[in-house]
């Protein structure tokens, strides 16, 4: 069970902010899209499975279509040639959408300080949460997921129509 948001309770009614209710609903029913390319993906499989059980956080259903998902989880090394594809997947997701970079490679290129590897996916898409580790343990991925939940739960309903968000998108060449 999740905690009730702050509000006024009386006999037979409860009043609170719309953004709190929306945030509560969103953060406990995230649909992640796993974009797993390498060894971090194996850790993510463990995260999904019964022992660590990502479903506890309301993410029971992983979607494999970006059009249905809210959270893009980029898990593993992204080669430069893969960069445009990550961006395309991001663009196919509907707003509101969040991005999590799992592992050193997705966050910064990791040990692959090389001509062929994208040095962090934040060069092509905006990232909300970075999970360090090479690879991160399932606990790390769950922690990252919970931080995404915090962001989702606290997000203002107006954020995505604001100027700042528009500027962020424009800095990535997204209209």
């Amino acid at each position: 069970m999740v905690d009730m948001p702050d509000g006024y309770t009386g006999e037979g009614f409860f009043a609170t902010k719309l953004s709190d209710v929306v945030g509560l609903a969103r953060k406990n029913s995230l649909w992640p899209l796993p974009f797993a390319t390498s060894c971090c993906g194996i850790e993510f499989m463990a995260t999904m499975a019964s022992h660590y059980d990502l479903a506890r956080f309301g993410a029971e259903r992983l979607g494999f279509s970006p059009r249905q998902c809210d959270l893009l989880m980029v898990i593993g090394t992204i080669a430069k040639k893969m960069g445009p594809i990550v961006k395309q997947v991001y663009l196919q997701m509907a707003e509101p959408r969040w991005v999590m970079a799992v592992g050193a490679c997705a966050s910064s290129g990791g040990i692959f300080d090389s001509y062929s590897v994208l040095q962090g996916i934040d060069q092509v898409v905006p990232v909300d949460v970075y999970v360090p580790g090479c690879p991160p343990r399932p606990e790390g991925i769950l922690d990252g997921f919970m931080r995404i939940q915090d962001l989702v739960g606290q997000e203002s309903v107006r954020r995505r129509s604001g100027e700042r968000y528009k500027e962020l998108m424009q800095s990535y060449g997204i209209e």
Binding site: K80, K81, S108, D113, S114, Y115, S116, Q119, G120
Partner: protein, 167 residues
């Protein structure tokens, strides 16, 4: 049974001593050919009734930065499947004009491998039907496996030299 000695003898006879550097590391016959002869050597090894090297196992390049005028070596690995014999030969070229005749007319497999070799070493295979990058991004304007670059990506701005004790 096809032996290395027979292959060497036939090659030397057919090419009248223009092939050099014969050696047999780990029992595999290797030699060097002048770069204008690469197709003639391949054709001979392919067509000859005794040689029958009709399978191109590998084609790649090596960069030797300390050999002026012959910096790039293109290496062919051939396999005679009937007698199960493998050989290897190299042709060397000047890096300033790295033109080599394509082997795609003889071996279909050369198509992919020559594109890869062009991608990483910049060897220009004259006559290749579709010589463009295959594994790297199209925008890349250098040949990454030439020994001309430090290991790190030179276009990086996010990692400060001071963090690595080089500041």
């Amino acid at each position: 049974m096809l032996t290395n000695a027979t292959i060497k003898e036939r090659l030397e006879k057919h090419f009248e001593g223009r092939l050099t550097g014969f050696e047999e590391p780990y029992g595999m016959l290797s030699f060097e050919a002048p770069k204008e002869l690469n197709l003639k050597v391949l054709q001979f090894l392919y067509d000859d009734e005794e040689m029958r090297f009709q399978f191109l196992t590998d084609l790649t390049a090596v960069h030797y930065p300390n050999q002026p005028g012959r910096e790039l070596a293109v290496v062919y690995h051939l396999h005679n499947m009937r007698d199960n014999v493998r050989i290897r030969f190299k042709v060397f070229t000047d890096i300033a004009q790295p033109d080599i005749f394509t082997a795609t007319k003889l071996y279909e497999a050369a198509n992919w491998m020559e594109r890869e070799t062009f991608d990483f070493f910049g060897v220009h295979f004259t006559g290749h039907p579709n010589l463009k990058r295959i594994l790297n991004v199209d925008e890349m304007d250098y040949f990454p496996l030439r020994k001309e670059y430090p290991l790190e990506d030179q276009t990086r701005t996010d990692k400060d030299d001071e963090m690595f004790g080089r500041g």
